[in-house]
Symmetry: D2
Subunit: 123 residues, 4 copies
Amino acid sequence: MPHKIDSKMRECIDNCTQCHNVCVETANHCLGLGGEHSSQHHQHVLLDCAQICAASADFMLRGSELHPRVCGVCAEACERCAQDCERLAGGDELMTRCAEMCRRCAESCRQMAACRFIAPTIR
Amino acid sequence: MPHKIDSKMRECIDNCTQCHNVCVETANHCLGLGGEHSSQHHQHVLLDCAQICAASADFMLRGSELHPRVCGVCAEACERCAQDCERLAGGDELMTRCAEMCRRCAESCRQMAACRFIAPTIR
Amino acid sequence: MPHKIDSKMRECIDNCTQCHNVCVETANHCLGLGGEHSSQHHQHVLLDCAQICAASADFMLRGSELHPRVCGVCAEACERCAQDCERLAGGDELMTRCAEMCRRCAESCRQMAACRFIAPTIR
Amino acid sequence: MPHKIDSKMRECIDNCTQCHNVCVETANHCLGLGGEHSSQHHQHVLLDCAQICAASADFMLRGSELHPRVCGVCAEACERCAQDCERLAGGDELMTRCAEMCRRCAESCRQMAACRFIAPTIR
């Protein structure tokens, strides 16, 4: 049975991909801003989000049965990142864009996490 | 408050790192064996395990608050990989070693997933 | 001096990102096709391209001084992948699309590799 | 022709793996130290080294023909990281250990980059 990526999943892959990219760019941008923007907590939140978004996209692109689990964690990481970027943005354009992308990605990952059946491991 | 990696977490990082490596090596080895070893399912199981192990190790090395979630998914991916490698190993030395490493990694990831408190996102 | 991503680099980041995604999807698709498509060589070529494209994009998004070096290797990996996909495509739609994306990515990575000055390490 | 990982390559894989881990840990540690340790430059140097080390290890574990190229860039990234960690270490234990690991990894990557023949792309 071939792996079919439907439009819903395709959209989620796209969101994860874009979210990864804006998080990596924002992490660097925030190091430049300094202060709380370059704190361990804020940098973790951005790097965590970037890394799990990349994994999430790859699991869906491979058609892996476990993708709903990874999407579940990804939704959580995106939500945290959105909140922390909003908290610190203060009108910064890139951080605002990052927060919005994280929200959108969290929403589509939550849908992927919820609606999929995960086959038992033993075959 | 600095991030302290205790011996339990250090061991889990080590397991994830080694598990990643043996899965990448085994995936290639299985492509060479062909047949069901190079099926989408078996390759997914190996590549999924490799990728989430790497993420899991990085989350712990960074001291990210979300590491128990990633470890939880990692434990599941390792368990699946162990089972599928055992199913197909038939005396193959590398596949047997891969299955054992996955079991060990699953066990330590389950412990990390269970015993950690995840702070609420809002600070 | 803040990191500025100009339109040329932005385009290259985009190509690397899309190239990564289509290579991961094609690798899985080729496992389903079997035969030479699931050979070690063809799978390596696709996975190598996917991994170095992701690294290349991240180096540019971070504004890392070493990005021209990574782009140089990336161009080579993309070129190999394009050639191998064309060799095996035989009218397959996804493989043809993968080959085209790899060509486009190789071209923009070559430009990034060529036109950048790498500062000496000692500061 | 099966892929054989000889002891030289096995050692290089090991160095890349350990170097990746110590760089991720040190990057976080340096964010905690603040000042120049959390500058964009120092963080890039650490994250670049971590990411290309991981890619380098995977290329060797897969037995990819292009691994000498990735090892070449990896040697350069390790060298830069070693120098920058030494420059800023000032007796810090983790940074000193990171610098040493980077030196060792650079040395073995240079050997892998030099001694391998890369087959032409066309087959």
